[in-house]
Symmetry: C2
Subunit: 419 residues, 2 copies
């Protein structure tokens, strides 16, 4: 029986024994803490916790880690990433600085199709090595569960290659990894004049093979202007459901284009982006089980609006925040910075932001029964901060990484290497 006792925790953060699987509206401000605390992990799970003055005698001989005035938090959960990619795209970044728009760069063969062209020329092994390095870096920054999408393949062979890389990543790390099939990320050049042909390719070729190899948990579609229409999205989601793939949607990044309504109609686990979210979208989400997911790193990097999370929380919705780590629109996945963006740019309180990257993010990956809060019996995926005074200090120190150690299944796995 493996056990580890964390002692001298300045403040144990994010305790929840309510059994809630998500927090919405004013509940997002709920964030229970214990000052001067201990926490016991056992067989990979949170076994018990309490105040140092009440530390049971029986625990005092167990292997200990002295947190020395640091905070302990549930790990961040990153429910939306594209970390399998072949190359960075800083040249497009410079084009954009010089005045080109996202759509113009895409129209010139850049954007997603640029990533696809590079990925198609890279071996599965090389893709795995680079993605594994990125994943380990994210883990060192406190990400304790993650979703990874395909969508830079856009051919049968290359979408399968990406999903096999994700399957190898699942096996290679000890944190949960959810795989999302995003063949419907863009129409490849070869199908620009034959949309029907690409839909058929996804439905008749990709989905059956993905299902046969058990390569994906979820199906995602970029339902937005210039990409997939709500009708096309619906057809794809219905097809995917027959193979057991639950829906997620990229929606409302570029306009009020029906992504949210399509997500709700199909009972999607989440609808992600949401820079264009008005009253009709909020109303639709209020009557749904679909988690709204904002990606503030994308807004920061592209200079597009931030999703109106303040308004959404005030309307009673739950919200989740994710990194969107990808080489085109969000070339970074440090969740600590996502927290800073949420507080400084979207006016979430530190507590709301933490719920958005823990319990609500776990919900968006069907993990909130096991992850996303300090709860007895949940998995001990935890973050130990550097010495800080308060939770608010984390988003406040916006340019700085304040993670000292990371626990996965009750074991300290970082720092073991530097990045």
């Amino acid at each position: 029986m493996s056990q580890l006792l964390l002692v001298n925790i300045k403040s144990l953060q994010g305790i929840d024994e309510s059994g809630k699987l998500l927090k919405k509206g004013s509940e997002m401000q709920e964030w229970e803490t214990i000052s001067n605390a201990w926490l016991l992990t056992q067989n990979g799970c949170i076994a018990n916790y309490g105040e140092m003055i009440n530390l049971p005698q029986a625990y005092q001989g167990l292997p200990q880690h002295d947190c020395d005035g640091a905070l302990v938090l549930p790990s961040f959960i990153d429910s939306h990433t594209h970390i399998v990619f072949a190359a960075s795209r800083e040249e497009e970044f410079v084009m954009r600085i010089k005045g080109k728009s996202y759509e113009e760069i895409a129209a010139a063969g850049g954007g997603i199709l640029n990533s696809a062209a590079k990925l198609q020329n890279m071996s599965e092994d090389d893709l795995f090595e680079e993605a594994f390095f990125r994943l380990r870096k994210l883990m060192s920054w406190g990400t304790g569960a993650i979703e990874i999408k395909s969508g830079y393949g856009l051919t049968v062979a290359d979408e399968l290659k990406m999903l096999r890389v994700i399957k190898r990543l699942k096996a290679a790390v000890s944190i949960p990894v959810k795989a999302t099939f995003l063949g419907a990320h863009a129409f490849p050049l070869a199908y620009k004049q034959n949309r029907r042909g690409y839909l058929d390719l996804i439905i008749n070729e990709m989905l059956p093979q993905i299902a046969a190899e058990g390569l994906a948990d979820y199906m995602d579609v970029f339902c937005d202007q210039g990409f997939f229409t709500p009708e096309e999205t619906s057809e794809l989601l219905i097809a995917a459901k027959q193979y057991g793939l639950k829906p997620k949607i990229h929606g409302n990044e570029l306009g009020y284009t029906g992504g949210v309504q399509t997500a709700v109609k199909h009972n999607a686990l989440s609808v992600d982006h949401l820079e264009y979210t008005g009253d009709a979208e909020i109303e639709a989400l209020l009557n749904s089980n679909t988690m709204p997911v904002a990606l503030p790193g994308c807004s920061f990097f592209l200079g597009i609006p931030y999703a109106p999370l303040r308004k959404m929380i005030d309307a009673g919705l739950p919200v989740c925040l994710a990194s969107d780590y990808n080489p085109g629109s969000t070339p970074n996945g440090r969740m600590g910075f996502v927290l800073s963006l949420a507080c400084t740019q979207m006016k979430l309180t530190p507590e709301e932001a933490m719920n958005a990257v823990t319990i609500n993010a776990a919900y968006a990956l069907e993990l909130s029964h096991e992850f996303g809060s300090i709860t007895k019996g949940k998995r001990a995926n935890l973050v130990i901060t550097k010495k800080v005074n308060s939770l608010a200090y984390l988003p406040y120190s916006f340019g700085e990484d304040l993670i000292e150690n990371v626990l996965v299944d009750g074991k300290i796995i970082f720092p073991t290497q530097s990045f």
Copy 2:
């Protein structure tokens, strides 16, 4: 004779043998590089550099550091900081999230006066210890020369205490530290109804003692609405000049309030903030020796406008970027993130942003004859990055620190400890 040979530099960045002390307008795009390079330091200075294929035989036995595919850059120079402070102010950050404005928080006794109250109760030794930790952290992030301001004392004894701390910091580190007296940071509560009294205190008590102890290089005034008027600012700068303190100004952060014009009138070394810079301000700066300094971290954190640097460069001006590290409006000083803000939010190219944090920042501290570019004879304060493909990758990877090693006077001083 101490020598160090850097070899296998993927790209040596920021070479300049032109003798320019600053770059303005289209010159800000100038950024010379050599691929696959070496660089020799000798007695703390840059002695020579070139391409690996032309590495002189005579150098091959010297102590070497293999840069292994990394970039080498001139160190960042941070020309505007407030790193001597007593306490973080994340509680005000949370107030602001909940809707209070900077002015409202200041009016309620928060803001600068909050920092002053805390600093007045802290010993010089404790202030030194905390500021020294911050300074070392900044150096580990690549800052190779820095300016530090007083201005949280606001009494004779406490302004002197802060400046003595800065003097101790100068002695404690090997990078250049410039000390700026900012007694005119705000009117202390005791003088709210007696502005004349505080001006007299600065002129008749603070300045003579500061000069007698040799505690400051520069004089700074917060010339903006709610703070010091242009007339008050002028009077203070004239008094300071008699003690040999050259002017700098905090101006145009809160409105079009004459800060720029006052700076130009007094031939200030720099005018800093500039969120409100229109055609009249640009015109004034074009006919001056005053360096305009933008502080994008403050705009990011407070949600105020960014200084219009794109327009200023296009009008032919030089611009500089600094961190403004302080506990109220910019609780972070990582210059790598300042670069990201410059490129993503202010639309500077990576080359323009680098000139703004190197040669032009050196100019703002009267250091550009010795620092701010890869130039034979200049001091070897350098940054070695992690393995990256291009200069643009640094601002592109916005949430990440990509500094591997830091050289000061030709010696590798980081990593020597982790932060």
